[in-house]
């Protein structure tokens, strides 16, 4: 019969899949088999505090108090039985316990009765056998739970790494010794400094410019602190100035910095500021001319006649055209990104269009300029919006004139390629520094922002050209050397079905 009881408990013990399940099922069964009112299993492992694996027959709160009874501190030995008036602080009169130990852990299994019915030797032996069963069952359960915990942690770390690797903000983790422990791909992209170069090195050494901004950075004590505003500061990275918005949070063992690249934002802000100044100037100049001419014409005491009268009227007409053109540019620049701007897609004879543009330019250009149209024979038409393409070529030719203060040749040269047509506007003017060649197509960007070379403009012309060409499925590029002139090349697709030259 005893063997059957032991086997019965072993069956229940071995069925458990988790420590908690074992605790719940075996303690209830202990009460059943021992006809006890209380059954419990306590355990202590190396990596966790003492805990109640399971308890049965105790009210909430009473189970936790079992940990204060010192039962877990009994080292080894066999089962022991006690009698008393208030055992376990729950009014138990008799108690039987059997310790067990498993792989760096130990525990105790116990049963208690609220009545004066002592546990005999056979019961103590049975409890000892139960303790052995629990020991054998808990070891693989603890190993399995430890394995699951490690898997879970690894999964969470992997997820965190993927998140940090995929977010657009740069993330930098520096330990208390000032050594970089984490440098994510976004940080690499912003600064051009690779993870291999930065991680594991002292921060000041890995990012020499950091020491210059260190004192200006604010480090919050908790991540959710919204009162701490990020610090905006320029940092020198390999001779390049990168503006960063940096927010720091102090952690146990280090500081984590999250940062965003403000370089583009700051440049755009600067361009806008420049644009306002430029446009103000550009508007005032023709306005002043119109105003002056109109006031002269309005003076009653001055009789203006003949050539002077016509000259003043021409001033008003030309300057108001100039104003209108500028306003048109501004309006177009504001609309050009929107899909609502209509574009035609039609075969355009660029040779004829180029002739019109050159002819119109000649009407305004003085004798210092030699405007030429270079057209190979039998050019096929391109697919484009005729008016928009005219606007592009007019802009490019006007720019060539504007940036060639000494005059010279300005050529509009057509050249057929494989399924495409290159339209080059070439001048012999000031030229553009290579560093600026990537910037000149940006909105508001002006080569001569301070008009040091006396060249006016809104900074919208090339931006408009690029956007219009892109909308016509074309490309625009620049080739230039300072002092040797520039060439702007617009490439457009040749209309389908058109014969090659």
């Amino acid at each position: 019969m005893e063997a059957a009881r032991r086997a019965q408990i072993v069956t229940i013990v071995n069925r458990a899949q988790t420590e908690a399940e074992l605790g719940e099922s075996v303690t209830a069964e202990l009460c059943e088999v021992f006809e006890a009112e209380v059954g419990f299993v306590l355990a202590r492992t190396e990596d966790a505090p003492p805990r109640v694996v399971g308890a049965y027959g105790l009210r909430s709160g009473e189970a936790a108090r079992l940990l204060d009874t010192g039962l877990l501190d009994v080292n080894g030995g066999g089962p022991h039985c006690e009698e008393g008036a208030n055992l376990l602080a729950v009014g138990a009169r008799t108690l039987a316990c059997a310790p067990f130990g498993a792989r760096g852990a130990r525990g105790v299994v116990g049963v208690a009765r609220l009545y004066e019915q002592t546990f005999d030797e056979a019961e103590a032996a049975l409890l000892e056998a139960v303790a052995e069963s629990i020991e054998h069952a808990l070891e693989p359960l603890w190993l399995a739970e430890e394995r699951d915990r490690l898997y879970h942690e690894a999964h969470e770390r992997g997820q965190a790494a993927r998140v940090i690797g995929s977010i657009a903000d740069g993330v930098l983790l520096v330990d208390d010794a000032g050594v970089v422990q984490l440098w994510n791909p976004a940080a690499e992209a912003m600064t051009g400094l690779s993870c291999d170069v930065v991680v594991g090195r002292p921060l000041d050494e890995a990012i020499p410019g950091w020491s210059a901004i260190r004192d200006s950075l604010v480090v919050a004590s908790e991540p959710a602190s919204s009162s701490e505003r990020p610090t905006s500061a320029p940092i020198d990275v390999g001779g390049r100035e990168v503006w960063l918005s940096i927010r720091g949070v102090g952690l146990a063992g280090g500081t984590v910095y999250a940062f965003r690249d403000l370089t583009q934002d700051r440049r755009l802000e600067q361009l806008k500021t420049d644009f306002i100044a430029t446009v103000s100037h550009e508007l005032r100049t023709p306005l002043a001319a119109v105003h002056g001419a109109a006031k002269t014409l309005a003076r009653e005491e001055v009789v203006v006649g003949g050539d002077v009268f016509r000259e003043l009227l021409n001033v008003v007409i030309e300057q108001s055209d100039r104003l209108a053109a500028m306003v048109d540019d501004i309006l177009l620049a504001s609309r050009i990104d929107s899909p609502g701007l209509p574009f035609a897609s039609e075969p355009v004879d660029v040779a004829a269009l180029g002739a019109e543009v050159i002819s119109a330019a000649r009407a305004h250009a003085d004798e210092r300029f030699r405007l030429e149209l270079v057209v190979p024979p039998s050019l096929p038409p391109v697919v484009a919006d005729r008016d928009k393409l005219r606007q592009v070529l007019t802009n490019l030719v006007a720019n060539a004139v504007k940036y060639s203060p000494a005059g010279g040749r300005i050529g509009l040269e057509l050249k057929q390629g494989d399924g495409k047509l290159d339209i080059a506007v070439r001048d012999e003017g000031l030229g553009i520094a290579s560093a600026e060649q990537q910037l000149i197509f940006e909105k508001f960007y002006r080569v001569d922002a301070n008009m040091a070379r006396g060249v006016s403009g809104s900074g919208l012309g090339l931006y408009i050209c690029r956007e219009l060409v892109h909308r016509m499925d074309g490309t625009i590029a620049v080739e230039s050397h300072p002092g040797e002139g520039s060439a702007f090349i617009v490439t457009l697709p040749i209309a389908a079905g058109s014969a090659a030259a």
Binding site: R5, E37, V90
Partner: protein
């Protein structure tokens, strides 16, 4: 009306009554309160079927306005005059006792037991002595799970008593509401001890067998053989000649039982035969458990009724003033004749002379726990006895 039981005790704590007829429930409740002759705190009501549960719940509550009312249906009920096949038995307790009533209709039996017990026990925290009565539904899952849920809340100091509602339709009642399923728990706290006596009339025959394979409530193999083969062999019956009706009678007369360390046995009703040679029991029996095949005799039924009364009374510090009885309906019914009446008479007679305040109900599974942690019973009789407050 059948009768009213009162005792001439100065500190009367209970009054009971039983009634038959169309308004048996209302009469029984009203007369029980009248017999108490003081402010009631709780009325337990046990009607027999057939009844309309919702009507009974409302009638019982209307007859005891402002008082907690709880109870359940039974296949028969017990009053001071003995067994009543068709009527109602009620017992009213004084408001000097601590009373708590809780109900739960959770789907999971263990949750159901825990929730009902929590609500009921909250009211008797301060009492020196207490008992938790559980009125359960035998069709809503393993009754042992209900007891386990209640025990998890009550702990070892509070004895459990009660049973599963009988009759058809079966119902439980709590504060004017009828519950078709779930658990009603009633906690009673007193300044003096409350006795709970538990007994059954099953006698093991032969040596125990070991359950070598089981699944839930089905014992598949005994001693390595199909459980039915061993069962029939022990009873000396040719299993192939046993039809369902015969098996039902055999199973009622010969339950399985789990032996306990104390030498007692815990009978387990065999509900049916399983197709694979197993025996379907009223509650789960674990693999490797020892089980005995028992005989259930008329003589043992009367003896066990008296034993339960004496067991309960022995735990009191004074004479029994009131008792609530939960008696397995199957104990006497399968023997026919007047055994059920004789059992009830034996029970009431054992309570004392004059008969104290008593109400009882015949159940489809009983609950009784004083020692140990398990309290789900079959073929049992559970007597809860109260003595007058000091």
């Amino acid at each position: 009306m059948l009768g009213v039981a009162t005792l001439d005790i100065h500190n009367r704590m209970a009054g009971s009554a039983s009634a038959t007829g169309r308004h048996a429930v209302a009469y029984a409740v009203e007369r029980a309160i009248t017999a108490l002759d003081r402010e009631p705190g709780l009325v337990l009501v046990f009607p027999t079927a057939p009844i309309d549960p919702d009507t009974v719940a409302v009638e019982a509550q209307a007859a005891a306005p402002g008082t907690r009312v709880a109870g359940m249906t039974g296949t028969a009920v017990i009053g001071a005059n003995g067994l009543i096949d068709n009527g109602c038995s009620a017992i009213a307790f004084s408001s000097v006792l601590n009373i708590g009533v809780g109900a739960s209709e959770a789907d999971d039996p263990r949750t159901c037991g825990r929730e009902a017990a929590e609500k009921a026990l909250a009211a008797i925290d301060d009492a020196s002595h207490g008992v938790l009565l559980l009125f359960v539904d035998s069709d809503s899952g393993d009754q042992a799970e209900v007891v386990a849920g209640a025990y998890a809340v009550a702990g070892g100091r509070i004895p459990l008593a009660g049973g599963a509602a009988g009759g058809a339709p079966r119902a439980r009642f709590a504060d004017g509401r009828a519950l078709a399923k779930g658990v009603v728990a009633v906690a009673i706290g007193n300044r003096t001890p409350i006795g709970v006596g538990i007994a059954h009339g099953c006698v093991p025959r032969g040596a125990p067998s070991i359950v070598t394979r089981s699944e839930g409530q089905t014992v598949l193999r005994l001693d390595g053989r199909p459980a039915q083969d061993v069962y029939f062999e022990r009873l000396g019956v040719d299993g192939e000649q046993v039809d369902d009706k015969t098996f039902e009678t055999l199973a009622m007369m010969h339950p399985l039982a789990e032996p306990e360390l104390s030498g007692n046995t815990r009978p387990r009703y065999v509900r049916a035969r399983a197709a694979d040679g197993g025996l379907v029991c009223a509650t789960s029996i674990e693999t490797n458990a020892a089980v005995e095949i028992c005989d259930h005799t008329p003589d043992a039924i009367g003896t066990s009724a008296r034993a339960a009364v004496e067991d309960a009374a022995s735990q009191l510090q004074g004479p029994t003033e009131a008792a609530v009885v939960f008696d397995c309906a199957a104990r006497s019914a399968w023997f026919g004749g007047d055994l059920a009446l004789r059992e009830a008479d034996a029970l009431v007679g054992a309570l004392g002379d004059p008969v104290p305040t008593v109400a009882g109900v015949c159940t489809r599974g009983e609950i009784g726990r004083v020692r140990g942690a398990k309290g789900d019973l079959n073929y049992g009789i559970v007597v809860v006895a109260f003595s007058a407050p000091a």
